[in-house]
């Protein structure tokens, strides 16, 4: 009888632990719609686009990445904080590079084939980049 009570308490502790871990993960999950910190808020990254970035781009193009070359070209987490002209340049380059199938790089895809952009994802990403760039240029 005593041992079964202990068992129940142990299980409860394990469940509580799992619960805490899960909730902390949801807390860490970044806000899906990122907006510019101040001033211009034309550039928005909707959840759908953010998911595509997450899957195929963010691994290298973020401030904590070890890929220096990728970091110099584009930091997705810093995109909304850039000046308007830099945003236009980066958006146009994203669109161009996706159009030419240059990213993600072939070597990377050979190792992680599931990170490839589907045609639909590539199209969505380009449409988003083009429309954002247009909106910024019109302002």
């Amino acid at each position: 009888m005593k041992t079964s009570k202990k068992r129940i308490i142990q299980w409860l502790i394990v469940c509580l632990g799992v619960f805490v871990v899960i909730t902390s993960f949801t807390l860490i999950k970044p806000n899906t719609t990122v907006k510019a910190p101040s001033g211009d808020d034309t550039l928005v990254i909707p959840e759908e686009i953010n998911n595509i970035f997450d899957k195929s781009c963010f691994g290298c193009h973020n401030s904590d990445s070890k890929n220096e070359k990728a970091k110099e070209k584009l930091l997705i987490n810093k995109l909304t904080g850039l000046s308007k002209s830099k945003q236009v340049a980066k958006l146009d380059k994203i669109s161009e590079i996706i159009e030419n199938n240059e990213m993600p790089p072939e070597k990377f895809l050979a190792r992680y084939p599931d990170k490839a952009l589907t045609q639909a994802e590539a199209k969505k990403l380009r449409e988003w980049a083009d429309s954002m760039s247009e909106a910024l240029l019109k302002k």
Binding site: S83, S85, A89, K93
Partner: protein, 153 residues
């Protein structure tokens, strides 16, 4: 001198002379007034000097050709470098670019210069004034950003 050495030298010399007959494809300079970078955007004198010393020999229609650029095989390298460079960016035809392309190009320039990918090592070897210091790179980067911001207005 041994007969054999003489023979080899003669062959090398003959080949060196013969390759001069192969056309290098060296491009000519064809500037068009009003289309160059300085006539469409503000280029301060300090920036213009840097661009002239470090970029214009390949990325414009004002390429200077030193004597060795007429001698094969260097002439081939010079010709191919300039042709490739002008295809990417020609400061003399800046006015032909669309607004978007100008903004993209300015970002490219800033990246290439700050990552020290341009000017090319082979060019810097023969052109000491093209060896940009960190401060000079920064001047170019800041200029590209200010021009780009102005284009957005």
């Amino acid at each position: 001198m041994k007969k054999r050495t003489k023979f080899i030298l003669a062959i090398v010399a003959g080949a060196a002379i013969l390759i001069q007959l192969i056309p290098s494809g060296r491009p000519s300079n064809n500037p068009v007034s009003g289309k160059d970078i300085a006539s469409s955007v503000e280029v301060p004198a300090s920036v213009y000097t840097l661009l002239k010393n470090a970029c214009f020999d390949c990325h414009s229609q004002s390429s200077r050709f030193p004597w060795y650029s007429y001698v094969a095989p260097v002439s081939w390298l010079v010709a191919s470098d300039i042709n490739k460079a002008r295809e990417q960016l020609d400061f003399s035809y800046w006015g032909d670019l669309s607004l978007k392309d100008k903004i993209k190009m300015l970002d490219d320039i800033s990246e290439e210069v700050s990552e020290k990918e341009m000017p090319l090592e082979s060019y810097k070897l023969m052109h000491p004034s093209a060896r940009l210091t960190d401060e000079e790179c920064e001047i170019i980067v800041e200029w590209t950003e200010s021009v780009s911001e102005k284009l957005m207005e």
